[in-house]
């Protein structure tokens, strides 16, 4: 973290100097942050808070190991369900077990990453209700970063690990005609997918500014979304597939790019370059999510509840 601080040291000294000598009104111009500055400040704060939580959980290593394993096993359960299904059939919606495992692994890893980084966002409603959000608002770092990093839990790596293991199994068993583009597309889709899910987490949290008890709604899109993406798109009704392609673009997390890698047809007639859109879609998703967050926070600050 030291390297991040080095660049902003001057600003820090300026702020405290101003505080010490009473020139607050004129000092601290350097603190006015643009969007990029805000992002940097947010990431810095996030890393600080997350590091603190890691340190404190590591004080109880045995308990951490159990929790991480529990998380791993818990998320493994639905893959066991899929295995049980395939003990009765050879193909589901025209997909073999390794192909479904590929979908499962990519969706699980992407969601797992988003859950690791943003999983605490669903506590926002509770914070609004009990008033502890106010304590975050008087600190000199972005609120979003503080909420996202709150109770940062490395045990959530269990889900990522489990997803990656299933993905590894799929990659070993599947006979894919690899091209450099396809190789590149696998990590890109996981990372982009994580950003798409993270946007859903943020938008869901923003919704809780108005409906404090509605954290479950975001579960529908996050947990529900991953569950859906673990199965082949051919299984679902066309309208549902259209919905997650054009309205809430979860299909870009894995379905569309994964089917390109697997050389399988997508139920909707899309040009093949759509497979390379995930990073763009992820970037676009951040815009409405960020806007929803800002509107939510503004509304909170004008109503106080």
């Amino acid at each position: 973290m030291a390297e991040v601080e080095a660049g902003t040291e001057a600003e820090a000294t300026q702020a405290t100097a101003a505080a010490g000598t009473g020139e607050a009104g004129t000092g601290g111009v350097g603190e006015k942050l643009g969007a990029v500055g805000q992002l940097r400040a947010g990431i810095r704060a996030y890393r600080m808070i997350a590091a603190m939580w890691i340190r404190s959980t590591m004080a109880y290593r045995a308990s951490f190991a159990m929790a991480a394993f529990g998380n791993f096993a818990a998320t493994g359960l639905d893959f066991v369900g899929i295995l049980l299904m395939f003990s009765h059939v050879d193909a589901l919606g025209g997909y073999t077990l390794p192909e479904v495992a590929f979908l499962y692994g990519t969706a699980g890893a992407a969601f797992g990453l988003a859950d690791l980084v943003m999983g605490s966002m669903d506590r926002l409603g509770r914070r609004v209700r009990d008033g502890t959000l106010d304590t975050l608002l008087v600190r000199p770092v972005p609120v979003l970063a503080q909420i996202a990093a709150d109770r940062f839990a490395l045990r959530r790596l269990g889900r990522v690990t489990q997803g990656l293991l299933v993905l590894g199994y799929a990659l070993v068993v599947l006979d894919i005609a690899w091209t450099p583009l396809k190789v590149l597309l696998v990590p890109v889709m996981i990372l982009s997918g994580a950003v798409i899910f993270a946007s859903v987490f943020v938008a869901g949290a923003a919704f809780q500014f108005w409906a404090q008890d509605a954290s479950e709604v975001q579960n529908s899109f996050t947990y529900g979304g991953t569950t859906m993406l673990q199965y082949p798109p051919t299984v679902f009704a066309k309208d549902l597939v259209r919905g997650v392609t054009f309205v809430l673009p979860l299909a870009f997390v894995n379905w569309i790019p994964a089917l390109y890698v697997l050389d399988l047809p997508y139920p909707l007639d899309l040009p093949s370059w759509f497979a390379f859109l995930p990073p763009v879609v992820a970037g676009v998703c951040c815009v409405p999510a960020g806007a929803a967050w800002r509107v939510g926070l503004r509304s909170y600050r004008s109503t106080g509840s």
Partner: protein, 302 residues
Amino acid sequence: MLWASGHGAGGGACLGLATRGFGLGARTSRKTGAVGVRVYAVVAAGGFRRYATYRVATAAGVFTNTVFGFIVAYTFTALWDERPQLGGYDLSQAVTYVWIGQALLMTTAMMGGGFENELMERIRTGDIAIDLYRPADLQLFWLASDLGRAAFHLLGRGVVPMALGALAFDLALPADPLVWVAFLCAVALGVVVSFAIRFLVALSAFWLLDGAGVAQITWLVGLFFSGMVLPLTLFPGGLGALAQVLPWSALLQIPADVLLGKHTGWGLVQAYGFQLGWAAVLLTAGRLLQSVATRRVVVQGG
């Protein structure tokens, strides 16, 4: 990941009723000398009302149950398209099973999240010592409260997803009201079995510093063996045989089979007998554990 649909509301519901309820029990007993049935009825009503106050959470939960119902129903449809009559169900029965699962997920607390977190917290903080000296019986008190909660979850979280499922899919729901009555009885027994399991889990907090690990493993096992992930009839060989006799099958598999008309006549009696048997065994075990724990608390002087 079929269980994510119960995430927030259940566990998040705030504490507080317990103490009020106990206060009530104590007050009544001073007059009558023993805690009457009426007190437990009041406690149950309190359990119902307490969850009923969270309207937005309930609406959000219904939404989530519905979304998951749709997703799982489609995957089951794909599975049964491939293998009609799998596990003894036809397609429409299989899809009905999915929606019964969503309707009962919270009711029989397959993933926990009822009273047990609160009870564990009281044990951890030592407040339990106060409860043990009160005239209301610890186990009966929490059972009454949990039955009230379950009644609310059946109405608030069960009916609407089931109705929406029936609109979107061709469900094999019985026309005979007697089957529905039989189903409700099976659900009630399922709630009692579920309660008995969670009561044991909660009491483990007397011996373990942190009951969270046990709770997590219990809901994990519970989800799997209740038939929420897949009907137990689809489990292969020995695993399937084991799953059928474990108490968790009383939570979803048996009520679902009752509604789907799999248990009738003598078979229905046997199914009830299975649920009652587990309820009796587990409640007795809970009672024994409770008395051991009480002695422990008394010895420690609270």
